[in-house]
Amino acid sequence: MFNEKLQFWGYRRPDGRVGVRNHVLILPTITCATQTAQRVTELVSGTVTFIHQHGCAQVGTDFDQTARTYVGMGMNPNVYGVIVLGLGCETHQAIQIGDEIAKCGKPVETVSIQDNGGTLQTIAEVAKIAVRMVQDASMVQRELCDFSELIIGTECGGSDACSGLSANPAVGSTSDMIVEQGGTAILAETTELIGAEHLLANRAANDSVAKKAYAVIKMMENRSIQMGVDIRTGNPSPGNIEGGLSSLEEKSLGAATKSGTTRLEEVIDYAERPTKKGLVWMDTPGHDIEQLTGMVAGGAQIVLFTSGRGTPTGSPIAPVIKISTNTPMYERMQENMDLDAGTIVDGKETVSQVGGRIMEEIKAVADGKLTKAEILKQHDFGIWRIGPTF
């Protein structure tokens, strides 16, 4: 559909990666610091933050996963600079997270509430740094960049029976176009690939990728088996069922169409940065916000999000383009939805026509067009917990 090489206007970062936004991120490494971070974003425009309940009393793989997510959020090229805000006594030390993010060369400052003498003095300190950083950020000029610099996350949430027929195949067609441009498309939500893993494994670049595809599916499925529950009690959700989806397998077969038709290059861990261009599978749960957070921490600059039931979801640092699977929902929830793929169900457009329209929207959003979720300040963030808190 797009024979020519596509380009967009992006912000080049010191590590060479390119952002489509230019945020100053106030990154609270512990839940105790989230309220203070929030206050600063109310004072200083150009700053963003997120509320969460992580950062202390976590161990092992779970500790590593949270740390990786924080660092990935800070390193995402949509972020100009980061103020890492800690309480002081937590296990995820702000100074360590800050040092790690600083390796990509962007401005990083670290502040501790305990060292600063409390909430008010910390707000003042962080705000002062933020004012300077936002002004510096405003001096960065956009430059012409290739689509091959883009990592596009794909996601479906609030699925209905149309998801697998309209919006998801359309995103699959967009995913193929991104790959053809030399870019990266992330497929995720391992839970919602249970029952469709053989189709993806058959497209794996090599045996070890195919093996990892089966392995992450098995780990996810075993979690529900070890808990002694029917996975259907959590997925598909009541809204999915009302929309006509009867089992996880049915939902998965629809969800997998987001991957398009290209070769599966690698399977990566949650919040990990892809090492390959092309189609990449990130191991995440089906939980919308946890999946979104993983992909953005993995470096996705833009996320495509299909929905049948409708959803407001967005990220503090990455534009999320919301695509409806059916026209009645698009019309009902226009304030949240950006594009309609229901035209496919109505026979008015083909899957690849909608795929092309999504591609054009990606270019517009990369150039600076705001998505509905950005305008509504929908700053969702949640890390996939894989262990208990101690």
Partner: protein, 98 residues
């Protein structure tokens, strides 16, 4: 024939999808590749929901997209609504482990 839109994705499938609300007692035509079925709808089928295009026996796999989406809990008649009341998933079934 009927003005009710349906979608039959793969000729191996045992179910088709209603693309509009379909009332009981009407006859619809479903087509995929070389196969065509006339199905008398037995109960109202809402937009996005599935109905059986052939009889499915108890325990038999149910196919959509040409792939298994679960198994029949009870025998299902042609034209019957196929959903969580008569279809169960086969994956992630920790409740079936003793």
């Amino acid at each position: 024939m009927s003005e009710y839109k349906t979608l039959f994705l793969n000729e191996k499938d045992s179910v088709a999808v209603a693309l509009s609300d379909i009332p009981a007692e009407v006859e619809v035509v479903v087509k995929a590749d070389s196969k065509e079925f006339r199905v008398k709808i037995l109960e109202p089928i809402l937009f996005g929901h599935k109905f059986a295009i052939r009889a499915i026996s108890q325990g038999e796999d149910i196919l959509k997209y040409g792939e298994v989406i679960g198994a029949a809990v009870v025998p299902i008649d042609v034209g019957e609504h196929v959903h969580v009341h008569n279809l169960e998933g086969k994956r992630g079934r920790g409740d079936k482990v003793v």
